[in-house]
Structure formats: C-alpha cells, structure tokens
Symmetry: C4
Subunit: 214 residues, 4 copies
C-alpha cells in the first residue's frame, strides 16, 4: 500500500477541496453579447462585482480550510471510521459552498428580503463548515492511538477553542444576514483574512516533521 490510511484520506480531501475551489469560477458568468443592449462590456462586468466578491471570499475560505486540514493531518498517524465520516461531513459542507456562493452573487443586490435570504444561506453554510471542522478535530483527538507521539495537547485544546470561536462568529453572521447582506459578506471576507494572518503568526510554533521521518 503506497499511502497510509491518513494519506489516502488527505488525498481524497485534497481532491474534493481542489475541485470545489476550482468550480467556483464556473459561477462567474460571461455576459452574452446580445444581453449588453448597447452598454459596454466593461460596464457589464463592473455590475457583476458581487459575483467577484463572493468568489474571492469563498476561494479564500476554502483555501484556509485546506491549510487547516493540512495542519490538522500532520498530527494524524492513522484514521478510523468515525474520523472518515466526520471528514466526509466536512467535505459535504465545503463542496456545497459553490451553491450559496452563486446564490449570494445573484441576490446580494436584490431587494432586501431576498438578499437577506441569500446571505443567511451563505452564512449557514459557513457555520456548517466551522462546526464540521470542530467535530472532525474531536473525532481525531478523542483517541490517542490516531495521533503522532509529538502532539502538543495544549495546542490541541487551543485549536478546538479557535474552531469554537470561529463557529460562534459564523453563527453571528447568520443573524447579521437579516440586517444587512453587504455587511455579512464583508464580515466573511474579514474573517477569512483574519484566519490567514492568525495562522501566519503561529506558524513558527507548529511542529515540522523531519525529512525522512515519514
């Protein structure tokens, strides 16, 4: 067997995440020539800004999910079936993301009611992603035998706390959706950027496996 158990889970997850992140571009619509009605292409493209904003936020979010998933599995030696299914639940939430992204791109500038609905569906999906991440981490850390020896327990609890804070923040965006859809998208973008830099700051502490230690 060329890949360990955890290696093949990583490979499958990488596949799903890579596909979900790349499929996002299919929701960016090229305006048909006949639909311009004399307007310039530049103007038609600029009216699609909600689509670009939603694309960017979702791309960043899935990218960060991948970085986190990657970091999480550097701790994992092998996986059991609860971990497999927790991972599947995470992949379900992430691979669903292109749908609410498209929804938000279409309805962000609509009348209040529908914009709120679209933002709420988007935020609820993000919340599901966050919760699935926490469940996966719990499934991984509940059994010591699944982990490499050098797991830092305090770091494990810190990670769970950070996932928990993230889930609370995502729950907040669900509520915010019914107030203002633009602000909701902006907060999702800010959260994604925050997670980028938060992880950059802690990168020095992550245990890096020695070459040849695999």
């Amino acid at each position: 067997m060329a890949l360990t158990d955890s290696g093949r889970v990583e490979a499958f997850s990488d596949g799903v995440l890579a596909i979900a992140i790349t499929l996002l571009v299919l929701d960016l619509r090229v305006p048909a020539r006949d639909d311009l009605h004399g307007a310039s292409l530049a103007s038609a493209l600029s009216h699609q800004w909600p689509a670009y904003a939603a694309y960017l936020v979702s791309f960043l979010t899935i990218g960060i999910m991948w970085v986190n998933h990657h970091a999480m599995f550097t701790q994992v030696r092998q996986v059991d079936r609860p971990v497999l299914f927790a991972n599947l639940a995470l992949l379900l939430a992430v691979s669903f993301l292109p749908f609410p992204t498209h929804l938000l791109a279409e309805y962000l500038t609509a009348d209040g009611r529908d914009a709120h609905t679209a933002a709420a569906v988007y935020s609820a999906t993000m919340l599901a992603v966050g919760l699935a991440f926490s469940v996966l981490w719990l499934a991984i850390t509940r059994t010591a035998g699944l982990l490499h020896a050098h797991l830092d327990r305090a770091a494990g609890r810190a990670a769970l706390r950070r996932f928990g804070v993230g889930s609370v923040a995502y729950a907040g965006t669900v509520a915010l959706s019914f107030v203002n859809a633009y602000a909701t998208l902006a907060v999702h973008g800010a959260l994604a950027l925050y997670y980028c830099f938060d992880q950059l700051a802690t990168s020095g502490r992550a245990p890096v496996p020695e070459p040849g230690a695999e």
Copy 2:
C-alpha cells in the same frame, strides 16, 4: 516509481470519486431573479427540496463508496488488468450518478409516470454501482497473489455477502420506483445511512496496517 500499482489505481479512483461527488453541486440551480415572478427567494428555494434530498443521498452514497473502496484496497498489494477494468466499470457507474441525481431532482414531483421513470433510472444506477462493487471484489479476491498476507478470508466472504445483500436491496428499489418515487428516494437515503452505521460498528475488526509497514 513513487506509487505502487495499487497506489495509482487508488489515486485515479480517488480522483474520479472526488470529482463525481463535487460535481453534484452543479445540479443545484440558483433561481434566476426574473423567474421569481414576485415570489420570495426563500419560497423558491424551498420548492427545490427534491434537489437537496437527491443531492444529499447521492453525496452520502458516493462517500460510502469511497470509504468501502478505501477499505477494500487496504487489502490489496498489487492489481492486474481484470482488476483495473472491474474498477473502471465501478467508476463508470459512480461517475454517471450526477445524471440520474439531476433527473430525479427534476422529476420527483412530476406526474406519476415520469417520476417513476426518474426513480427507476436512479435506482438502476445504484444497482449497477452495487453490482460493479461485487465484481471488483471478486476480481481482487480471485487471485491470492494480489492480496496482503493478512487477509481474513471469512471477512472477505462476509464483505461479498454484504455487497450481495446491497445489490438485492437496490434491485428492490428499482421495483419500488414504479410504485412511489418519494418512497424510493427515502429508501436510498435509509440504505446510505445504514451503511454508514454498519461500517462504524465493524470498524474495530478491520486490520489496521502498522505505521511504517508500507
């Protein structure tokens, strides 16, 4: 060669399964603003519930296929051409699944006749997946040289029996399709959930390769 024979089959299969599972989301349609005709987006989305149900059942089914495929290939040391083509037949059935999923989502609530047709196509695809799985297992286990030494023969026969029972159940859903399409989808969902928990229950008995044994 970085991957053993069986490693590359797993990688290709992971790719196809990961893509098929992620492409399912493309069949969830965002209602166009002009098609709402004054209805709310929330109401339009809730009318699409058959699409979400079919999406969820198909996602779970492909996910379980992947878990089973993964478990099956932990037993495999190397593959020959019959295994390659049996595996290709399985991938054909699984990668076809987005089509009947879309079909069922579109016609579940249609007049009886067309709903029955859509459910039957969906069930027949599931039956094909189940049969292909059995054929793959037979192709793998027919030659001892393809297997790791530690194969549990009784477990091998038990797996084949379980695949056989699954195929009979899927054949039953084909018949059920002509009675009630809703019930058919519900049974497929129940079968997927059953397989999740059935495998969870037996996970303790699966041989887990030692770290470093690859």
Copy 3:
C-alpha cells in the same frame, strides 16, 4: 521531495484524465419538464441514445488511455522536459474529448452533412490522442536513462507498433466519418472494446514490480 519526478507526472496526468472522464457526464442533458410537450420522460430519454452511446465510447477510451498510461509509466524511472511536453500534448488531446463527444451526441442523428462533420471532428480528436500517445512513447524510450533497468526492448517496439496500428485505425475512422456517422461511432466502440481485451490477453507478460521495490 515526496514524489519522484515520474510520480508527480503520473499524479497530474491521473488528475486530468480523471477530470476529463468525469466531466463527460455533464454533457448528458436532463430534459426540462416544459420541453416534453406531453411526451413521456421515458420517450424523451430514449431519444437521447446517441448521447449515451458517445458517452460510453468516450468513457471507455479515456479509461483505456489511463490504463495504457499507467502501464507505460511503470517502465519509467524519471522524466525530462521533452517527456513532460509530450505528456502535456496527450493531456491536451484527451481533455478536449468532452467537446467532440458532446458534438457527436448532438449531431449524430442530424442531416448527413452535419453528422459527418461531427463524426470527423470526433475521429480526428481520437487520431490526435493516438498520435500523442506514440510521440510520448518515443520521448520516453529515446533515452535509456529514463527507464527502469528491466525494460523489455521487444515489448517496447511491440507497444510502438500497437500505437501505430491504432493511429492508422483512427485515421480510417476520419475517412469513414464522411460515409456514415453511425458506423464511425460503432467502430470507435469496437476499437475501445478490442483494446480492453487485447490488453487483458497480454497482461501476464507485463513485468510486475516486486512489493517493496518502490
């Protein structure tokens, strides 16, 4: 570096082939309810038989390409840039295949002239795939240093001869396209099946790497 040179080429090629084979399903169209005009869904689906036939032939062809590519790279120890670009040309031809597949599905039953055009585009793409395969094999075998020691030279020439015969056959289907589009698709199907069984017959002679030899 976790993957050898040839390992990463295989992984990238597997990815492209897996995606191309799975994208084929997107060209199978679910008839819209409003387009049935009183006809049954079963009848509408049965009228799409050229789409299923083209789907099946293209799926088999890409699958066989993958099996051949896999067999070819078991001979390869490392790759240089000419091999990389020959491989890229092969991937170009294969990943283009969903387009002529869709074209043939749409126009197979059209008036003679357009059916001939669609069949010719399909056949020309297959010819390009066959030629790219021969070029890749030449690029790999032109330098002994790229190969594992145990390459069977006679088998290498036999493989090239088989690719050459395949290319001549594909060139024949381009000519046949202008006579009869149905016959052209049937010949492509027969060629795909022939390659399946041809390879099955010779599988016993292929050098199989020892476990642990990676």
Copy 4:
C-alpha cells in the same frame, strides 16, 4: 504521514491546476441545432475559432505553469505558511483563468471597445499569474531551511529574473490590449511557446534527483 509537507502542497496544486486546465473545455460551446439557421455545422464551428485559439493558449499557459511549479518544488524540502499562502495566491490566479478565457473567446471579434476590454482582462490575469509566481519563488527562497541542500543559488536568481521578465512582458500585453485584441492573443500564444522551448533548452542543467534519494 504519507506525504511530506511539500508533497501535499504539490498534490493540492496539481489538483487545482489539473482541474483548471480541464475545465477550459467547458467553455467550448456546441452550437445548438436550432441556432444553425440553415448554415452548415462546419461553418458554425469555424466561426468559433477565437474560442479554440483562446482555449489553446490558456491550456498551454496552465501546462507551463504546472511544469514550472513542478521544477520549483523539486528544490523544496518543506514549506511554511507564507509559502502556503503565496501558493494559494498563485492557484487563485490560475483557477480564475477559465473566466477571462471564455470572455476573450466571446468578445475577440466584437467591436473594438469590448474586444479591448476582454483582452485587457485576459492579460491582467496573466500578469497576476506571473507576479504570483515571482512572489511564490521569493517566499520559497527567502529561507534556506525550506530548500534541499543542492540548490544552485545562481539558478535561483536566474529563475527570479526570468519570472520578472515574464511579468514585464505580461504587463506589456495589458497595454497592447487597448491597441489590438488579436495581436494580444497572438503574443500570449508566442509567449507560451517561447517558455516551452526556453525550458527545453535548459533542461540539461537541472539537477535530477537520484532514484531512491527521496
């Protein structure tokens, strides 16, 4: 852990690049039978030549990106978070490419103003890809600990210089877009071909890892 850090980054990047390169084919539209209005399919297909040209140039460009990415990561022993996010920025630019490719295919033959816009968006995306590549290379080479011992420093600086020249050339195509969209696409095609042969010429000097050195 089956893959080293850098191995999994390569696998994820391969996935995104493989998907982006394969999704390009979805933008090649099969003319609907009803849209021919008596014209032949051959004539309708030949009118789509900008789509084929844009497809080919984008395919080649992503293919070269993959070859470069592959060559770059043969130097890398492990990655840290800045490299992960620089890589993510590159993947963002590359996976966005199907959108401007489709845009250019649709508007290349449009009235000047809109053709210029489409060419400028296409060129700006290429510029972003080039810049992201330079940033990734800087992130990788800024810390000696990320690299294999055998990095040739002069080759490192030469690579950066080549990426820099590429970025200047891409910036030039942005300007050229407002003069002539056809010429812009031709220059992109010429650049892609140049990079193919440039790399072929230098391939003899690249350090090739010994088998078993992984």
